[in-house]
C-alpha cells in the first residue's frame, strides 16, 4: 500500500522521515482544500474565537460551578433529608447574626488579618531577594536562586506541611535543637507557626512576581544616586521601591488571594485552634453535610477577596 502511495520511494529506515513529511503534506492538501471549500476567508474574524472555544468551555465548568454555588448559598437546605428548600437568606443570617456568628466572623477576621501580615512580610522578604536576582548577570547564580525559590513552591502543600510539622511539632527539629540550650520550644498550635509556615511559601511566590518589575529598573539610576552620595536606604526608598511599584502591587494581589484560601497550614501547624475560612468551609461540609451553608461561606470568602483586590487595585492606580 505504501509503495502505491509513494510511487518509486522505497521504504527503508533511512527514508522514514521523508515519507512522514510527504504524508503530512498530503494531509495538508486535504485540509487546504477543505478550508478553501468552506470559504473561511470571509469569516476569518471568527477564527480566533473558534480557537479559544475549547478553553472557554473547560473554564465554563468552573464558572458554572461558581454560579451554582452562589445560587445554593441563597437556598435553605436540610442535610438530614438531603432536600433543598426555597429561596432564603437563612445561611447568611446564620453567618452574620446567628448563634455561631461570632465564630464565623472571628474566623473571617483572622483569615484577613493573618493574610495581610503574611503578605506584607512576604513582600518585605521578597524585595531584597528579587533585587539580588535581577542584579546579577551570572546566569548560573540566577538559575540557582530560581531553583531554590521554585522547589518549595512547587513541591506541594501537603509535603510542605509535613516538613513544617517535623520542624515545629513534638519531637520536631526545633525542639531538639533548642533542647541543647535547656529549653524546648514548641510552636505548634500558635499563630506564629501559621505565620512562619505561610511566609515560607508566599515569599518565593512574591519574589517570582516581583522579578519582571525589578528587571525593568534601570540600574544606572541607582549608580547615579550612589555616586552623588545617596545612602542605601535612600536608594531603596527613592528609586527601587517606587520603580518596582507595579510588581509590588501584583505581588500583593497574588499573595493575598493565595493566603486567604490557606488550608493545610492553619489546620496542621495551628492544630485547628486558629481556623481559617477554608477550614471552616470544609468542616461545615464534612461534619454537617450542609453544602448550601458551605456555599454561603464560600461566597462570603469570594466576596472578601474581590473587595480586597478591588481596593488594592483602586489605591494602586490612584497614586500613579
Amino acid at each position: 500500500m505504501d509503495a502505491v502511495a509513494y510511487g518509486t520511494v522505497e521504504l527503508d529506515a533511512g527514508m522514514k522521515p521523508k515519507t512522514d513529511v510527504q504524508l503530512s503534506f498530503r494531509i495538508l492538501d486535504v485540509i487546504i482544500r477543505v478550508t478553501r471549500g468552506l470559504k473561511l476567508g470571509k469569516k476569518a474574524y471568527l477564527f480566533p474565537y473558534i480557537l479559544v472555544l475549547p478553553a472557554f468551555l473547560l473554564i465554563g465548568i468552573l464558572a458554572l460551578g461558581i454560579l451554582l454555588m452562589l445560587w445554593r448559598g441563597f437556598h435553605s437546605f436540610s442535610p438530614g433529608e438531603n432536600s433543598e428548600g426555597g429561596l432564603s437568606f437563612d445561611h447568611y443570617r446564620e453567618l452574620f447574626f446567628g448563634y455561631g456568628s461570632s465564630f464565623y466572623l472571628k474566623t473571617l477576621g483572622r483569615t484577613i488579618l493573618v493574610s495581610i501580615v503574611v503578605t506584607l512580610t512576604s513582600i518585605m522578604c521578597a524585595l531584597p531577594v528579587a533585587y539580588t536576582i535581577t542584579s546579577t548577570q551570572n546566569r548560573r547564580t540566577r538559575r540557582f536562586a530560581l531553583i531554590m525559590l521554585l522547589v518549595p513552591f512547587m513541591m506541594g502543600e501537603s509535603v510542605r506541611t509535613i516538613g513544617w510539622f517535623l520542624i515545629l511539632g513534638n519531637n520536631g527539629a526545633l525542639s531538639w535543637v533548642t533542647s541543647f540550650f535547656g529549653r524546648e520550644i514548641g510552636l505548634l498550635g500558635s499563630i506564629i507557626a501559621i505565620w512562619v509556615g505561610m511566609l515560607q511559601v508566599m515569599f518565593p511566590i512574591a519574589t517570582l512576581v516581583l522579578l519582571p518589575a525589578m528587571t525593568k529598573i534601570d540600574r544606572d539610576l541607582e549608580r547615579a544616586a550612589r555616586s552623588m552620595g545617596g545612602k542605601s536606604t535612600q536608594v531603596w526608598l527613592r528609586i527601587i521601591l517606587p520603580l518596582s511599584r507595579p510588581g509590588i502591587l501584583s505581588a500583593l494581589l497574588v499573595v493575598l488571594t493565595l493566603s486567604m484560601t490557606e488550608f493545610a497550614i492553619p489546620r496542621i501547624l495551628g492544630q485547628g485552634k486558629h481556623p481559617f475560612v477554608a477550614n471552616t468551609i470544609q468542616q461545615i461540609y464534612f461534619e454537617r453535610g450542609n453544602v448550601n451553608f458551605g456555599s454561603a461561606l464560600s461566597t462570603v470568602l469570594l466576596l472578601a477577596v474581590v473587595v480586597m483586590v478591588l481596593t488594592i487595585g483602586y489605591f494602586g492606580k490612584s497614586r500613579v
Partner: protein, 262 residues
C-alpha cells in the same frame, strides 16, 4: 559592603525557604517507624514501605493519572486558546484572558466548593476523571501563560518568509509557528504535571475513599500520626519537583516570562 548585606539576607531567606525540603529528606531516611528528631539512624525502609503500603500505592497511581490527564487535556486546549488569544486579532482579549485564568483569581477553596456543588448535583462524586478535570481547570493558567510567553518570543519574520516563499497559511502554522511554540508547550506541560500531581485543596474537597490522591493520603497521615513512609513519599515528591524545576529552568520560556521587559 552594602550589597553583601543584601546578598547574605537573600541567602538566608533562600535557606529558610528550603528548610522544610531539607527536613523532609532527612526524616524520610530515619530508621524508626515515625519520623522524629533526633533521627534514630539511617535506613531507606521508608521508601520500601511505600511500595508495600497498598493505600499509598493506589493513591500514587491515581496521582500520576491526574498529572497525565492534566497534561493531555490542557496541552491541545491551551495551545489553541493561547494562539487565539495572543497570536491573532481578537476583540475582547482582556475579558476573555481574565476569564480563562479564573482558576487563579478565585480562591482555591471556593473553586473546590464550586466543583463539589456541581458534581453532587450531577451525582458523580468520587470520579477520578472529574477530579482531574477540576484540577486542570484550576491549573489551566500555567499552560496558557507558558505558551503565551512563547508566542511573544516568536520571530514574525520567519512566518513572513514562509508566506512569501509560497507556503499556505496552514503550512506556515504547522511547519514554522508550531515548532517555535514547542518550548512553551513543554514548560506548560511540565508545570501542569507537577501542579496536577501536588494539587491539594480542590482534591481534598472532592475526595472520597474511591479517588484519594497522594497529597490527601499524606494529609491524612499528618492528622492520624505521621510515619516514616509519609516522609518518604514527600522525598519522592521533592525528587520529582527538583527534576522538573531543573528542566523548566533550562528552557528560555521561564526566563522570558520572569525577566520580561515589555
Amino acid at each position: 559592603m552594602k550589597l553583601s548585606k543584601v546578598w547574605s539576607f537573600t541567602l538566608f531567606t533562600l535557606f529558610f525557604a528550603s528548610l522544610p525540603t531539607i527536613i523532609v529528606i532527612m526524616a524520610s531516611f530515619n530508621s524508626g517507624a515515625a519520623p522524629k528528631f533526633p533521627l534514630e539512624g539511617f535506613s531507606a525502609h521508608g521508601y520500601t514501605d511505600l511500595l508495600s503500603d497498598s493505600t499509598i500505592r493506589a493513591s500514587m497511581v491515581r496521582t500520576l493519572l491526574v498529572g497525565l490527564i492534566s497534561v493531555v487535556i490542557s496541552m491541545p486546549v491551551g495551545l489553541l486558546a493561547s494562539l487565539g488569544l495572543y497570536r491573532y486579532r481578537i476583540k475582547g482579549r482582556g475579558p476573555i484572558g481574565a476569564y480563562l485564568i479564573l482558576g487563579f483569581s478565585v480562591p482555591l477553596v471556593v473553586s473546590g466548593m464550586a466543583f463539589l456543588v456541581l458534581y453532587t448535583r450531577t451525582g458523580q462524586m468520587g470520579s477520578l476523571t472529574l477530579l482531574a478535570i477540576a484540577v486542570v481547570t484550576v491549573n489551566f493558567p500555567f499552560m496558557l501563560l507558558s505558551i503565551g510567553s512563547s508566542i511573544n518570543l516568536l520571530n514574525p519574520q520567519l512566518e513572513e518568509a514562509s508566506r512569501t516563499l509560497g507556503a499556505e497559511r496552514i503550512q506556515t502554522f504547522l511547519l514554522v509557528t508550531l515548532p517555535g511554540l514547542l518550548p512553551g508547550v513543554l514548560t506548560g506541560s511540565l508545570l501542569m504535571f507537577v501542579f496536577g500531581t501536588t494539587e491539594f485543596l480542590v482534591s481534598l474537597i472532592l475526595s472520597t475513599t474511591a479517588n484519594q490522591t497522594l497529597p490527601i493520603v499524606l494529609f491524612g497521615g499528618l492528622r492520624s500520626g505521621l510515619q516514616t513512609r509519609h516522609a518518604a513519599a514527600g522525598g519522592i515528591y521533592i525528587a520529582m519537583t527538583v527534576l522538573i524545576v531543573l528542566m523548566v529552568t533550562r528552557s528560555r520560556t521561564l526566563d522570558q516570562f520572569l525577566f520580561r521587559k515589555d
